[in-house]
């Protein structure tokens, strides 16, 4: 069963050098309250796993601007000039991962798999240094699972069992990352009573969720 905490308490659990998966796509569906608390805490040398590095003033872009990220696994950095600067200066080391591969590597970790085989990246720089496995005449890259200590995600509603539903395209990587945190913290707009969410509509079963905090964007404090 999850425990309800504040965004500040969530951020306080994270320590330097932790591996932190953060949900969202171009900051839509990003746990902004927890990110803001993490900026306020100033925790440095984080390893971030995220789809994109968002914008300078939204999503994980705020952690970049505050120089809190040491390394990242990400599929796209083009919307954030600051991460490009820090990549060029060597402050941040970035592994660029094709987005579909990134999601499967995240899911693999949450699902207890060592990795996945994908055709994406064959014949490109992505295959360099990796094992290629041929099955029935097709080449696949062996891509390893991405471990994470924490998953910080954003959902729309939780019930008292921690079951989660999401809002529209703010779902994106959140249900995947929810499964990969050794500790998963969900920021939600609302916590409803158990039974109010239809079991048929649950996207993330509460078993994956350790902590929940209310989003300040929903005016819950």
């Amino acid at each position: 069963m999850f425990k309800q905490i504040t965004a500040t308490e969530a951020a306080a659990m994270i320590t330097p050098h932790d591996r932190v998966a953060i949900g969202g796509f171009l900051a839509v569906g990003a746990p902004e309250s927890i990110i803001d608390a993490l900026v306020a805490a100033g925790t440095k040398d984080l390893h971030i796993i995220v789809i994109a590095s968002d914008w300078e003033n939204r999503g994980i872009g705020k952690l970049v601007v505050n120089h809190q990220i040491k390394s990242a696994q990400v599929s796209h950095t083009g919307t954030n000039k600051e991460i490009q600067n820090q990549m060029n200066s060597g402050e941040i080391s970035v592994e660029l991962v094709p987005q579909g591969t990134l999601m499967e590597r995240c899911r693999a970790f949450g699902m207890g798999l060592g990795g996945i085989l994908t055709p994406t990246g064959i014949g490109t720089v992505v295959e360099e240094g990796k094992q290629i496995i041929n099955l029935d005449g097709e080449d696949y890259i062996l891509e390893t699972a991405i471990p994470s200590d924490f998953a910080l995600i954003r959902a729309w509603k939780a019930d008292r069992r921690g079951n989660l539903i999401y809002s529209k395209t703010a779902r994106n990587s959140n249900p995947i990352m929810a499964m990969m945190g050794k500790i998963t913290i969900a920021e939600v707009d609302e916590i409803v009573e158990t039974g109010e969410l239809d079991p048929e509509h649950i996207v993330t079963p509460g078993v994956f969720v350790n902590y929940i905090c209310l989003s300040k964007e929903a005016n819950n404090g």
């Binding site: 083009g78 987005q99 995240c106 490109t124």
Partner: protein, 213 residues
């Protein structure tokens, strides 16, 4: 019609009723404005939605409804939302009929380079590698030459590849070119241009069919 609209209209001709389609950011999105009446194409956006509709009216944007380029969207009746792994499963698993992407370079082997220029821009491949690897048909839509007038259709790509041997059709402001196992086959020449113009603007070898000579 300007160049972009012309390319968009030509892409639209490739989209058949009932197709599931992903349009890349930029020029390819033009195609959505040229779908003929009666043809219903279902647009995917890789951030997790099938059934993307037109952009919302100003003032009615929903902060939780964006496309992969970050632009606000609406959905059509029958749309669905899903997580990013499912979205890329649709893409990689061959469930998408057509993807249309831009290119920095494309070559006569159907290789595509569209995600980085070493030493200059390295934004990341985002979803491009999965899209080009997995879609049933990969269409490259682009201006025939770069801003300096250099050919972008080459014998061999020199920039880092997005995927190897996956492009099936190139639609540019000058021509429509099919990628075949035997190389590039010129299919159409745009109004106002000659076959010679296309050959001159293309570094790769082109096969010219009899009816275009």
């Amino acid at each position: 019609m300007d160049k972009r609209a012309m390319i968009g209209a030509r892409i639209a001709k490739e989209l058949k009723d009932g197709d599931y389609v992903n349009l890349g950011i930029g020029l390819p999105t033009e195609a959505a404005n040229h779908i003929p009446p009666g043809v219903h194409v279902i647009f995917q956006s890789e951030n997790g939605v099938m059934g993307v509709g037109p952009a919302p009216a100003e003032g009615s944007e929903d902060q939780d409804m964006i496309n992969a380029g970050g632009g606000f969207i609406t959905t059509v009746p029958g749309a669905s939302y899903f997580d990013s792994a499912t979205s890329f499963g649709i893409i990689r698993g061959g469930h998408l009929d057509i993807t249309v992407l831009g290119a920095l370079q494309v070559d006569q082997h159907g290789n595509l380079a569209n995600w980085m220029i070493p030493g200059k821009i390295i934004p990341g491949m985002g979803g491009a590698m999965d899209l080009v690897t997995g879609a049933k048909k990969v269409i490259v839509a682009m201006e025939h030459c770069d801003k300096r007038g250099n050919p972008k259709i080459l014998k061999e790509c020199t920039l880092p590849l997005t995927a190897k041997g996956k492009v099936s059709l190139i639609i540019s402001d000058l021509a429509v070119i099919e990628v075949t196992p035997h190389g590039l086959l010129l299919q159409e020449v745009s109004e106002g241009y000659t076959v010679e113009d296309v050959i001159k603007a293309t570094e790769a070898d082109l096969t010219i069919p009899g009816h275009l000579r």
